[in-house]
Chain length 450, copies 2
């Protein structure tokens, strides 16, 4: 995942760069990444993936082998290939810190760099930020739906490939989930990992009770029994019957997991069986095609479930598997630029977002405006959401830790207005567009190179 | 993407393996990968990803560093860590060749190996096969919807991470699409790549006509102009006005691309403008949030569009972003096993699928049965879909080329019954379950280790 080739890009990035090279077009370009509209049912989005973008930018280069591969295609001139072999990212990045909540049309990353660099990075930049933002935004809804519950990412197997599985674990933890089943996420990002057992472990044994015993003896610090391979309540009785023996061996039973059928119904029955057997401290975990709506239902029903493993629908953001995330040229060579394609118009220039809070500390509205407008006629109050993170192609300072990003996410969620915290679609959060920005768009339209 | 760590797995695989290790459970286990039910709106699925699975199995090993990382967690015994450091895949794999069409409950991969090996590979096996199967199945619908049209994968930027972007290009080409914009897919898999220009290329120039000219001079073999940055029809007129100059320079205009607004409407107007300007041979390509339903609409409207770039909705399989794909233990130590979890029951034993065809060569029905049943009381005719591919942890023969898999996919699609070729949900394709398999399931239920 660290070693993704720069050839993992769209061909047009390279053909455009050949054009820029031939014309000597290398003045500074300003691009911004933003989401044009929030998807149906989403009241907010959460920025994530900046850390991986900065890694990518600091490491970006073409190896000799990669340049050679491009040379063999016959599409590029020798001079351009030499240029590519020397290409590094030397520009500036300003961005919302990870964990920041944002809304339609608000840039989350601004890139300012010589045109070929700023253009070339487009594909991987979107690829990295779109996905983690998508998953953090989905996970945040689960966190809001199930306050105080343990929430684990179980989605690696049906995530879309290796990188998606690993980065989904990161984005979900950043958004406030408790941990993941993905082992690599522990070493790579320091995320707590959690695991139980699969049905196959039970099935490989001739006897379910024996399977439980073997597992407990092998993993005495990690005893969570899976109950639904054959008959959930019968399995709960077996757990009760095993408890004295495990207690004598000093092995604590931490939990049981339910993975099929009417999870709330089984949880109630299992809770009664465990409690009657003196196992009040044993937690009940549930999994199996869960999402935020299911969590919300369990909480309303007061199902005695202490934690949830959420897999496929989290790691694929199943109800909203993509965002309308785009990376657009907003200025070149000091001149603001604007795309006017139908339904896809952009706001030109270098923008900032100012966020206001009400007396109770809740978010009260954002202003999308030109950077520096503070000092202009329309002085703005509020928090500036975009901050400098990279200059001359190097991080300005070590990135915030994942724990800090997670704290920012939690703080953001706690300041969301109540209607936006609900799972159902609310009236949109107010994002105003400043007068000066509107005027600039009109000016650009009048002067555009037609 | 080649170098994915074996730690990209679920923690429970490792904790279960510690359990198997402690108990000396290493007899042969049979696991099968299948999709429990077809998702809504899908009439068939297409198997893909086997090639990447076989690569993974042949290379599987833990480095010293990885074992050390596991050691530091304190979860595992030294003996088990030594076992892990020696772990290789030495088992058997039988599978449907890539490009094969399949249906609910039909195994697409069978793994037979010592229990710890067969168990350990579960997470990555599903991760690899689920995703490419998902995308090939989606792309196949596009191929059926737009016969004779050029179809390009443009989805890398919003694919879920790096591996998803690369493997989506592979799966889409396998399913019959024409190529991709992803440069790395050309070198890695020999897939034709295609690209045009982005709006930013036009915007970075002061003048749209000049942008076109610069691009054509830099990429004389690859001239496809993007028309919708400002005004689509005005841009088409500029293309006509540039044509004589380019013709004189020996630069052919291959196509134009439309990316916003009413694509069919613009295509008709642009076609008229190009034809009137003597540019009848210039192709019109369209892109922008397309999927198989949009393609179907364009074809019904007879929109003069020659090719389509399909991005996000292909690479995320947006309407169906996951399949109910599972990998289940069907036998251990020679004894068939069956999971009976509510709604998730499995068919035990080592299975084969026999496919029958009608007189016209169309698929007429499948039989899910135990392997070798042919010779039993219920002798079956038909094509055996599962074939041996790996023995002793090594490929039996070089894998079919991607071109062969693509040919298999095309042949399969041509043999689909007509109702299943349509985009709307049809009556399910008949998949019968053999009597002997039903009897085995009952026997296992009676004898299961309760």
């Amino acid at each position: 995942m660290d070693e993704v080739s720069p050839l993992l890009t769209d061909l047009y990035q390279l053909t455009m760069l050949q054009g820029y090279f031939d014309q000597g077009m290398e003045e500074t370009a300003l691009f911004e990444l933003f989401v044009r509209t929030l998807p149906p049912g989403r009241n907010f989005l959460m920025a994530a993936g900046l850390e991986q973008l900065l890694d990518y930018l600091e490491r970006l280069h073409f190896t000799g082998e990669e340049v050679e591969a491009l040379s063999r295609t016959g599409r590029f001139t020798p001079g351009f290939l030499t240029f590519l072999s020397q290409l590094r990212f030397t520009g500036e990045v300003d961005a919302m810190p990870e964990g920041t909540l944002f809304f339609q049309n608000e840039p989350i990353v601004r890139v300012s760099a010589p045109l070929p660099q700023a253009q070339f990075i487009e594909t991987r930049l979107i690829n990295l930020l779109h996905f983690q933002t998508l998953i953090a935004s989905k996970a945040a809804r689960m966190v809001l739906a199930a306050p105080g519950k343990l929430l684990f990412d179980f989605g690696l197997r049906r995530a879309h490939g290796a990188e998606a599985g690993l980065l989904a674990a990161r984005a979900a933890y950043l958004a406030g989930m408790s941990g993941t089943a993905t082992v690599l996420a522990e070493g790579r990002f320091g995320i707590p990992v959690f695991g139980t057992m699969a049905h196959s472990f039970i099935q490989a044994h001739d006897d379910e009770r024996e399977a439980f015993l073997h597992f407990a003896e092998s993993q005495p610090d990690n005893v969570v029994f899976l109950l639904d391979t054959y008959d959930t309540e019968a399995a709960a009785e077996k757990v009760v019957s095993l408890a004295p023996r495990l207690r004598a061996a000093g092995i604590p039973i931490r939990g049981v997991r339910l993975d099929s059928g009417d999870l709330a119904g089984h949880a109630k029955k299992v809770r009664r069986i465990l409690d009657a057997g003196g196992l009040r401290e044993v937690k009940i975990l549930a999994s199996g095609n869960l999402d935020e709506f299911a969590l919300d239902r369990f909480l309303r029903e007061q199902a005695p479930i202490d934690g949830f493993g959420v897999g496929t629908r989290l790691d694929t953001s199943a109800d909203v598997p993509y965002l309308d995330a785009v990376y657009k040229l907003q200025a070149y060579a000091g001149r603001p630029r604007r795309k006017r394609s139908e339904g896809k118009e952009t706001w030109p220039g270098r923008k900032q977002i100012y966020r206001r809070y009400d007396a109770a500390g809740r978010m009260a509205g954002d202003l999308l405006s030109l950077e520096g407008e503070r000092e202009g006629e329309e002085e703005q109050e509020g928090e500036e959401l975009i901050v400098p993170v990279m200059r001359g192609g190097r991080r300005l300072r070590p990135s915030p830790s994942l724990a800090e990003a997670r704290a920012r996410a939690a703080a953001g969620l706690s300041r969301l207005p109540d209607p936006l915290r609900r799972l159902t679609e609310a009236s949109p959060y107010p994002v105003a567009v400043s007068e000066r920005l509107r005027r600039l768009a009109e000016e650009v339209d009048r002067g555009d190179g037609l």
